[in-house]
């Protein structure tokens, strides 16, 4: 399997109130053709910014260090027509809020066919047929009528399907799905998710799937990256994320979730509050909230450590606390409260 996307030591700074603030710090990831990579983290952890950097949608004035390679091309060096082609047929972005991201005064049909007509030079009739077929494929009934409707006439779930259909019409090699289901209600979420999965498999596209839902990420993705304060803190196969977290932050996230077969009087919360990348302390950004933190954590920014063949972590203490983390996570899964685990 060949590598499609390679992000290497990506650091992004944005101008805010006259100063450059770091929003991404040393982010590296790679994604193979046809695979799905999950990216989880809380708001402001840099998930969307990573996607924007990959799609070359950073706000003006942003400074970038590091590399993004897409199918052998250096993404940050693309200019003019090459950049346009990269956006047109290389990556497609599915945004979180379909209602804001689809032009409200143009018809669904215009939205679905504009890329085909302008970029691929398809005649209007052909483009329309393709749009109709795709709408049917994403489970929208009466597609001919939908093409003539306006966004405000469709529900949020339908609009998100339209968004997915539009992203897929151009047959991109990579889909950047930026919290595609967050704005939807739970039942619609499941539908939209399964449609997205099916389309991805049908057309053999790779996907960077951004979410703050750990559960969803592990269900959908081959591998998952956990972001904190603009950094990658952990990366490993999605199935192991819950049973064997490789970072105290991930472990705390796992424990902070309610579970359907466990009665929780009170969910354990992570003490402190999320840190943004630019105000992160020296050393490990999570150290102030970490119950495993020691002096060594606060001295220098931890490097990415390889843990066996499993994955990577940005926790310097991982080799020693690994068993402890696993034990507490497993005990928790068996219905024992965190207080008891702490004892």
């Amino acid at each position: 399997m060949s590598t499609l996307l390679e992000v290497d030591a990506l650091t992004v700074r944005l101008p805010v109130k006259g100063e450059l603030r770091t929003v991404l710090r040393d982010v590296s990831l790679s994604l193979d053709e046809g695979k799905t990579l999950g990216m989880v983290g809380e708001s402001g952890s840099g998930k969307s910014m990573t996607a924007r950097a990959i799609a070359r949608l950073l706000p003006s004035g942003a400074t970038v260090a590091g590399h993004v390679q897409f199918a052998g091309a250096n993404v940050f060096e693309l200019r003019g027509e090459a950049l346009r082609r990269y956006r047109a047929n290389g990556v497609s972005v599915i945004f979180q809020d379909a209602r804001a991201n689809i032009n409200p005064v143009r018809r669904i049909g215009d939205f679905l066919t504009e890329a085909l007509r302008t970029n691929d030079g398809l005649p209007a009739k052909k483009a329309e047929q393709r749009a109709i077929a795709l709408l049917a494929e994403v489970g929208i009934s009466d597609p001919e009528r939908r093409l003539r409707q306006y966004p405000h006439e469709l529900s949020g779930g339908l609009l998100q399907r339209v968004m997915i259909a539009a992203a897929v019409t151009v047959r991109p090699r990579l889909i950047l799905a930026d919290e595609p289901t967050t704005a939807l209600d739970v039942t619609t979420q499941a539908e939209v998710m399964s449609i997205l999965r099916r389309m991805q498999q049908n057309y053999g596209m790779a996907m960077l799937f951004i979410t703050h839902d750990l559960e969803l990420a592990s269900a959908v993705c081959d591998e998952t990256i956990v972001m904190y304060a603009g950094m990658v803190v952990e990366r490993q196969a999605s199935n192991n994320l819950h049973t064997e977290p490789l970072h105290p932050y991930t472990a705390a996230l796992v424990q902070a979730r309610p579970e359907i077969d466990r009665r929780s009087v009170r969910l354990p919360a992570i003490p402190g509050h999320p840190t943004s990348a630019y105000e992160a302390p020296e050393g490990c950004a999570f150290a102030p909230r970490c119950r495993f933190a020691q002096d060594q954590c606060r001295v220098a920014a931890p490097p990415l450590l390889q843990i066996d063949q499993r994955g990577v972590t940005r926790c310097v203490r991982m080799p020693e606390i690994r068993n402890q983390l696993r034990a507490s996570t497993m005990l928790l899964a068996e219905g024992i409260s965190r207080e008891e685990v702490a004892r």
């Binding site: 799609a55 949608l57 950049l83 346009r84 082609r85 990269y86 956006r87 047109a88 047929n89 990556v91 497609s92 972005v93 945004f95 809020d97 209602r99 804001a100 991201n101 689809i102 032009n103 409200p104 005064v105 143009r106 215009d110 504009e114 890329a115 302008t118 970029n119 009934s141 009466d142 306006y150 405000h152 006439e153 469709l154 529900s155 949020g156 539009a166 151009v170």
Partner: protein, 336 residues
Amino acid sequence: MTETKSIPLPDKLASSWAGWPTLRFILGRILGLLATLFVASIVVFGALYLAPGNPLTFLTQGRSMSQEAIAALETQYHLNDPIWMQYLRWLGELLHGNFGTSIVYNQPVSTLLAARAPATVLVIVMAAAIVLAVGLAIGAYSGLRPGWLSRWTMAGATAIMAIPTFVAAVVLIIVFAVNLGWFPVFGSGAPGLDAVYHSILPAVALALASVAFVARLTQAAIRQELSAEHVQTAVSRGLPRRYIVQRHIVRNAAIPVLTVAGLTIAGLIAGSVIVEQVFQLGGIGQFLVSSVQQKDFPVVQAICLTYVAAFIVLNTLIDLAYALLDPRVSLGRKSS
């Protein structure tokens, strides 16, 4: 936000109903227009009687007259009737298309107005064209191409917005008519191209503040669309910039811009009175000023009502255009 789920409406039914909201909207607007005109007629009629001075003193021009002559005048103009009866009589005549007779000229008001209307219409239409062409062009340019030129243009526009029409008119006359001699100082010229030539300076004076306003508005609307999320989507899809500008930025910015620009143009009607007076164009506006001074009641009333009607009709057209431009606005219903 309401979500319209797929309510299966049979196609036949849907199409037969499709015309109704539009028709209802237009009918409603016409009723509204009539109601506004009715209220305006009361205000216009009442205002003149509330103004200081008795119509009789203006009819007699301060000369002493015999009791019989005054009585004859009072009977002729029904001045002894209660005001509401005078109003109803006037309204009745109005409904028959009769604006009455000018006291000063002793001619039908409609004849007097018809002779003066072309000059007024010409200057307003020319000013409107300038507002749209120049205002939209400056606004679109500075919205799409930020930079020092845009900033200075907008700073200039803000300054120009603050200049009252009569000041602009006088300055234009001094610079372009007196000093440079490019344009006539005043007068409306012979019908045809000469009239257009004579109306250039007045139209510019009338349009100036509105040009600046429309330019600022356009710039703001385009800036807003530029940073809109749906435009970012269009960029992320690799659409050509030209296409994005035309179909997403300009298309969407046009909705607020054309609506407010339309209202601004309707507002030119009021400004035209001043410009006509300064440039002595001999149009309806100038006639209004002289008629007010001479207390020529029927003329003043007729002109005021005409202006109100023109303003409301323009407003209605703008509302219709707005509904056509923005599919989210459905005619005859409240927007969701």
